[in-house]
Symmetry: D2
Subunit: 225 residues, 4 copies
């Protein structure tokens, strides 16, 4: 995949290419692209993703609390703002069209895979610092950007076009570039540019790897009956 | 003072009337109203308050992370948003007019009184729950609303009118009513309406009292040479 | 089951009887009792539980940081102390006997089920208060006590007797009674004795339910190839 | 001063020599050494330090929760253990001899200077990572070790000999060497040995500087009537 949102995250992707591909080219996504994904599975995923977005937004709010400068606070809080106002709107809109109202959405019980991923990221943020949190958030934000572009180029069915359009849209791609820049600058400011041999880099690699693995589990969950 | 932003906070004010009055009727404020406050002291306060606002915004972001519902997330994050975008603008504007540019502002060294108050609130939020955090934030938010209205009624000098106008403005008063409602509902949802005899109420009283005392220290700092 | 370590937790168990029984009478445990559990599964569980204990100990340390009194600090830190010194020793001892040395143990990769449970508890502690954390910890601590006694009464094979002896031992049972007392007093001090109708009780019920569900997932993981 | 507990902290001391000396050679300490410190001031300090120790112990517990390995957990929790069991005992013993019983001690109201320091350290720990927390803790732990040795060499009055003996004792000096080693290894593991030019080092310097300044404020408080 050629889009590069962040120098740092690109290095992490290369270092964990095996699982990164399993995540971004998961069979759930192939089925989205060719329209073979059963509707029930897509709705299951959407409902879980609604709960996911709430915890994910909390994690971005935590990033604001853990920011080191007003600039970092402004970026992280604007991402948080667009998550709870714009990205959630897509979920609510699509669900409503499919006959799932907001009350049903709110009473959805989160799956273990959902708990695993969201609490992993939040706990990384609470126990670690701003970098640990951002790197744990990156597979989701930037992975969805990459997935959006990839599916945009290969989709053969209109069935899930709205979802594909959302993550390949210029708006979402801009969020990815902002987050990528934020990560590169945050890493550079804190641990410089020769970070490859220090322990902190190993720690960041672990956060990236586990978060990516938990993304795979999330797709797996979407395919479960 | 007759304005009541919140039932719960009104009870806390009554229970700690002695120090609440020392805070909201502090001689720093009398001097703001009659214009006798030396410019140097006002600028000292403004510069410290700029740093204060950064940590205070972080505390509101933490409140979003600790929210229990999307509604609480939306309110807390909108307050955080107006703090870093609107309230800070007043500080930057007034400081610039007085010959303090943004670079000077950013290089201000925070005083112990500033550290004490901001870290107290943040730590209350991290160690406690959403209620502990909100109650620790309340003396500042609602106290400034009350102070704004009081000074609006008694000011005899135009010197610090812009500051007084800001906190007595309908916009700021609306923030106070929103925060008051948020607190009342958050308390009611979590510990009901008969909370006066449980330990949690004692804990909340301690947070309120200490935060109020630290507000007094903050004014004292403003008067120090 | 007749042993009652805590009034509060007994109420929670009754309210979630369905999943509590699925947890404490899980087929993993039946197989431990009758010796039919394959050795490989037991070792898989032990290795995961070793990592689990590290995060669980961190959660108890967090409970000390979130304590409200010196008494609470002393109890929570002594539990933490016995976890990393005594309970871990059992794991290391049994693993060594089975040919798994400490280096293997340390290089174990945690499963998603393990991540889900440990991070859930830690995040509950960070985002919530002392009560939220304790209640999230309770299904594990007290559940294992109950399981130990139950298996002690029904085991028909010596194969896993050491494990059963550990959790049915007077030492472990005492830990359960201490934790039970700690919980009852912490609840009583903070939200009194008429807590059944307030929102905080609903929140505590959610923490208890989800933690119990994640315990079931943990056993399921133990049975997976 | 020639004792070196830690390579990293020695560098920090050199970089902040001005305030480090103001802290470790504060007039409160000169008065302890020559016995001119009024008893009332010493008792005021002791009572505040009792509360300080509680929050300081919580900060060490938080360090355990934020540890990256079992080894770090064992060291941090053993320091925490000796703080609440041994160091506190000295305070209680001395206070009792001076007619202040444990009930008085527990009802002491913490001063703003005490709040400032303890919450600063705890918040550094919550918002930052393990390193941020340890460096914020270091001026107290290692500074008291250095102060103990210095006063041991220069004291001219028996009046506060027990206090001086405590911090110059082999037991306390050993704690200092353990903490020093812990810090050096934690820094080396995470940011290597060429950390002087990265932003994280600047952040750690800020934590060290502010914590040292807040130590000075604490002594100042001790001298206030």
């Amino acid at each position: 995949m050629s889009v590069i949102y962040s120098k740092v995250v690109s290095e992490l992707i290369s270092a964990h290419k095996d699982i990164w591909n399993s995540y971004t080219e998961h069979s759930f996504l192939e089925q989205l692209a060719n329209g073979s994904l059963p509707n029930a599975q897509f709705l299951k995923y959407l409902k879980q993703d609604y709960i996911f977005l709430i915890h994910f937004s909390r994690a971005w709010a935590l990033a604001t609390a853990k920011s080191d400068s007003l600039d970092e606070m402004i970026i992280t809080s604007s991402i948080m703002h667009s998550l709870i106002n714009e990205e959630m709107a897509l979920h609510i809109r699509v669900c409503e069209r499919e006959g799932i109202n907001i009350k049903d959405l709110k009473s959805t019980v989160e799956t273990p895979e959902n708990i695993a991923y969201t609490r992993y990221v939040l706990e990384a943020g609470y126990s670690g610092d701003f970098l640990d949190l951002l790197i744990s958030l990156s597979p989701c934000v930037l992975g969805y950007g990459q997935i959006g572009l990839r599916l945009k180029n290969m989709f053969t069915s209109q069935k899930y076009k709205e979802w594909i359009d959302n993550y390949s849209s210029p708006e979402y791609q801009n969020v990815c570039f902002s987050v990528g820049k934020l990560i590169d600058e945050a890493v550079s400011r804190r641990i410089g540019n020769n970070y490859h041999k220090i322990g902190k880099w190993k720690i960041l690699n672990q956060y990236f790897r586990k978060a990516t693995l938990l993304e795979i589990e999330f797709w797996e969950m979407g395919l479960k009956p």
